[in-house]
Each structure stands twice: as structure tokens, then as C-alpha cells.
Amino acid sequence: MQAEGRAPGLPLLAGGEGPGADSRPAAGAPGTARGPLIAAAAAEVLPLDDEEDDLEVFSKDTSLAEVNSFSPSVPISPSSMINQYKFEDEPELRDLFITVDDPESHITAIETFITYRVVTKTSRGEFDSSEYEVRRRYQDFLWLKSKLEEAHPTLIIPPLPEKFIMKGMVERFSDEFIETRRKALHKFLNRIADHPTLTFNEDFKIFLTAQAWELSSHKKQGPGLLSRMGQTVRAVASSVRGAVKNRPGMFTEINDYMETFSQKINLLDKIAHRIYKEERDYFNEMKEYGPIHTLWSASEEDIADSLKGIASCIDRCCKATEKRMAGLSENLLPILHEYVLYSEILMGVLKRRDQIQGELDSKVDALANRKTEKDLFSEEIGKLEDKVERANNALKADWDRWKQNMQCDMRSTFTNVAENNLRFYEECLATWESFLASQTVDLHVEEDSEDRP
């Protein structure tokens, strides 16, 4: 994998990622699944102390479960799960910590929009300061994403939350919508920060550090909308010419994989939402179920206590169900959704690679038809061949990395789901067992008193 402008000796992120961007233990020893460059740097990086600096920084925002946190009361999230499974001999080395929080509404004459506070803390040399705090709106994130795509057409740029949610009754500015978006934006930036190449992107740095007016003026400098549109049209045209016949087998494999994966992940997303809905309906009915027993106990004498006991058990199970639902919506649903978006992104990346190859192929075809101007063409073709090779390598490496992360994410998320359910059943079990114990004690007391004359 190419790393542009990276200073030597800088700690390389081990390629793992996640909401808190921890280093994931790879399937084997560090460096097996990564490019040669990374392995070399990792050797420098390994023998280190457990740096846990900057952690209390995030204590303010306890809702950010995805933050690096080694505290015992760690909220349950994929990243904290990874923390617990971390191998002690592969310490976390991050020099860039980002949080997104504090959504605020801004009302102008023309529009209403939300800005989010983006806080960055870093020890990197190329940053003038070690701490930055800026406010960004969704548009700014969109801009960043498109700049990254422009600069690295065959790298896998993390997904952004959608502009609107079509399904459900979530309004544009409802608290739930804003919170979901905030979490997704936080994840977006952290995934970029964890990416070995994207983390050093200049636009990314500007996004994190520039004041509002600076960002606006920087944005205007980029290639205009028209030229970007022109590129798109050309790209579409060249893809039509199709590089599929010349596509290296590896990328066809990836394409086939992604087609199936995309299908499955979409299904899982639907299933997970359906489960959430069923659990919520169940919870609503349970809320009514407990109190009926209490009402009944008012007409009874002998069995009043048993009835009240049942009522309280049902209420406790009800609360446990609420927790289970929260677990789903905090972990499983966002991750599955992210990977639904990822599958779209990957199809896009594969297409762009095909387009780059398409450019080369069409030039080669053109050369075959013109025997003159051969030299001119060869130079151009040489450049294009390089471009294709760079694109292929970049994609291949990023694909491997993505696959690793996906596996990690899925493993930790579903393990978390299982644990959530375990916790739920264990809590309910304890409740009912203690009720049962109280009842059988009563029975024994009754039997004893019957024996007495």
C-alpha cells in the first residue's frame, strides 16, 4: 500500500479499526495480512508500554461508547469488547483522537441546519497544535468524503450516514435521528483516522483543524462542479466500454463476493430491524401484563403476596427487555447499517478500478489501430499502466484490510448480541428463581403450622 508523504518512524496504526479505532488483533501474528511496508514499520513499533493517555478526556461525553476506554464500567460496544479481548503484547498506538458531539441547531434566514462539534487531539508533528475544536455540518462531511474519493478512487472510503431516512417516521430533526447521525459521523471520522493512507490526507487535516471561514475558502479552491461533472460523464462512458474482459481474476472474485455479501448484509439488516420491532411490541404488552396481577391481589387475601410477587417479576423482566432492545439499537443496528453502506461503496470502488483499467484498455486498442505516433502513445500507455497498477495494488491492500475489519466487527458485534441476550435471560432467571424461593418457603411454613395441633 502506498503511503504518500508519511514521515518515517511514525507509529503505524496496525490496520485495525472500529468505532474507537483500536488496533485489532489480526488473524495471525502482526503483519501477516498486511503489505510489506506496514510489517517493517510494525517491527519498530512493537515493544512499547501501554499508553493510556488522553482517556479521561472523553469522560464528559459518556454517551460515546465507542471511545477508547479501559475503565471498568465500560459501556458495551464493539470497541470496548475489543479492548477486553486485546492482546497485551500489541498495545494500541494512536496519535489522533477524534470525537463528534454536541449537536446544535442553527437558524438562518434561508435555512435551519445542525452543526456538530469535532474535537481532535493529536501528537503528530504536522499539526500545529495538539488540540482542535471546530464545528461542522453534514455538508462539510459530504465535501470531505468526495475529496477523499477524488484523491483515492480505489481506496475504500468509509460510509457516511444517509441524508434522509426513508423508512420509519424519523423526522429530519428528531433527537433520535440526530443522535444516530452523530454516532455515524463520529465513526466515519475515526475510520478515516485509522486508515493507513487516508489519515494523512490533506483535506482531512483541514477538515479537522480549519475554522469555518477557512474551510469555506478552501472548499472553493477545488475543481469546479462542471469539471467534476465532466469527469463523471467520461468515467461512465469509459466504463461502458467495459474493462471486464481484461479484469484480473482477483477483482472478479471480489466482485462476486461483494454481490453475495451485499445481499446477505441487507437481509441481516432487515432481520435485525424486525427483531427490534418485535421486541418493542413485546415490551409494550408486558408493560400492561404485570399491573393486572397487582390489581388482582387487591381482591385476594391468601394469594395476594404471590400475585404481587409475580407482578414484580414481570416488571423486572420488562425492564430487562428494555435493556436488551437498547443493546440492539446501540450496537447491532448501526454496524449492520454501516456495512450495508459499505457494500455499496465497495461496488463503487470496483467500478472505478474498472474505469481506470478501461482507460488503459481503450488507449491500447487505439494504438493497435494507428501505426504512426507510436512513441507518443507508448508514453501515455506507460503512464496509464502505472496508474492501473497503483490502483490495483491500493485496492487489493485496502480490500484485505477491509475484510479483516469486517470479520472483526462482525465477530464482536454478534458476540455482543449474544451477551446481551445472555444478560437478559440471566436477569430474568434470577428474578423468577427468587420469587420461587419465596413461595416455597411460605409453603413449608404453612405445612409446618398445619402439623401443629
Binding site: 421486541e279 396481577h293 404471590s306 458476540t415 432467571l429
Partner: protein
Amino acid sequence: RAVESQGEGQCAPVESLWRRYSEFELLRNYLSVTYPHIVVPPLPEKRADFVWHKLSADNMDPDFVERRRIGLENFLLRVASHPVLCQDKIFYSFLTQEGGWKEMVNETGFQLKADSRLKALNATFRVKNPDKRFTELKHYSDELQSVISHLLRVRARVADRLYGVYKVHGNYGRVFSEWSAIEKEMGDGLQSAGHHMDVYAASIDDILEEEEHYADQLKEYLFYAEALRAVCRKHELMQYDLEMAAQDLTSKKQQCEELATGTVRTFSLKGMTSKLFGQETPEQREAKIKVLEEQIQEGEEQLKSKNLEGRDFVKSAWADIERFKEQKNHDLKEALISYAVMQISMCKKGIQVWTNAKECFSKM
């Protein structure tokens, strides 16, 4: 008396005798009329009530028929274990006599003894001094009926939702399996986790079937509430009857006195007409007084026996009600405990499945 459970019901195979549901109804009606002071055990529902979507509302559905069969068996056991009812000859014949049972029952002429609903309703509204305990019991039975039916309705809805939660997890199994086909390292973990999700989804069927038995136990007491009310109604009827008889006696005595003394104390049409159309002859008056005196004597005897009847009724009814209360408390407590046991078993199953699933996931 040892009583074997009888198989019965319409189209169900049977042990010794065939009995239709309608014959059970006939038996119960007979018992209710013949022993109005007893809280007669109720029959299970004729039609499926409180169903949730998986449960069929079809009366011919084998599960429903089976549960009803068990309910009818239970009814017979209750009657057989009742100190008074078990001695009834008609009940005995129900269990032992193949043919002609229906005729036998009708020959007892019990239908004639039955109180009309209208009469009973009238009594409920007009009675002046019912025994307070019966009034309280009536309120209790109303409350019991209302709360149990509410509980059963909500329970059915909860069961429906729980079913949904479990069954949707079954979809995981299928998708995991399909997904595992394209994965190298994750494949095994996904596949086996999917299997556990299938197990989880399937487990709800047994869980809810067991819960139906619990619901049936509650239903029995829902119907028992009606039996309690029947006893209260009988008391009200008897009390009203008594009050009416006493009233009638008092007015007859008054009439007699008036005729004898010639004074008209209360306004009466007779008095007015006699004023208008002339008094009766002394002979006529004598005859009337004599008739009245006879009636009064009859009336006093009747009142005495009615009073006695009433007191006996209250005494024996209350004895049975105490017996019933103990039975109810015991049974319901047991039912609630069995509900807790069911929940515990459900939780344990859940823990097992998700522990297995977690292991599979962590190996992905």
C-alpha cells in the same frame, strides 16, 4: 370412591363410555339445580376463547379438542372429589350407565325446580336484606371474573409477541448459512451460530404450549366465578321469597284485623268500593275472615319453614364456600408457582442457546 377418568367429547376415542359435550352440560345443569347451595365445578369452554394468532380458533382443531378433553376430565374429578356431589346417583350413572342416562336425568324432573333467570334478576334488584357475606361474595366474584379475563386477554397478546420475537431469529439461521458459503475463516462460526438460532426459534413452540395449560388453570377459576355468583343468586332469590312471604302475611293479618274491627286503616280499593256500593253482610264478612285466618295460619307455617330453609341454605352454602375458598387459594397458588417454574425453564433454555451462539460467534 375411586373414579377413573372418562374419555369423552365428540369424535374422540374413549375409555369406557362415550359422552358428548352436551351430556356434560346436562349433568352440570342437573347438579346446579339439585344442589343450589354448592359451588358446582364449571365446564371448560365450549368454544375457543382468548386465542392468539398461532392458536386456532377452530373448535375442531386437535389441540383445542385435546385441551377441552382434559378440561372435561378435570370437571369429573372435581365432582368426584366433592364430599356432597360425589354421592349423587345421577353422577354415578353418568360414569357407569351406557344407555338411557339422559332419560333418567329428565325423569328426575329437575328442570321444574330450576329458577327462571328473570325471577332471579328481579330478586337481585328487589331484595332488601340479603346476608352481607353473600353481597361481598358477589362483588368478589365479579372482580375475579373481570380481572382473570383481562389477564387472559393480555397474556394471549404477550404470547403472540413473544412468538414473533423467537421466530424472527430463525431467519438468522438461513442467512448465516447462505453467508457462510462465501466466507473462508468466518464460515464455520456463522454456520454453527445459525444452527443455534434455528434451535432458539423452534423452542418457543413448546414453551407456549405449556403456558396454555397455565391459562386453562386460570380459565377454570374464571368460570368458577360464575358458579359462585349462582349460589349468591340463589340466596337472593330465597331471601326475596322470604321477604315477599313475610310481607304477604303481614298484609293478610292487617286485612283480617280490619274486617274484624271494621276499621279501615289503610286505603284499599275494597274499602272504597264497599263504601260506595254498600257494606257486606256480616255473614260474608265472617266467611272472609275465616278464609283469611286459614291463609294466615298456612302463611305462618310457610314462613317458618322458609326461614328454616333459608338458614339451612346459608349455613350449608357458606360451608361449601369456605371449602371452595381453600381449594381456590391452593390451586391458584400452585398455578402461579408453576408459571414461575415455566419462566425459569424458558430462561434456562435461552441461556443455553445464547451461550452456544456466543461461542460460535467468538470463533468467527
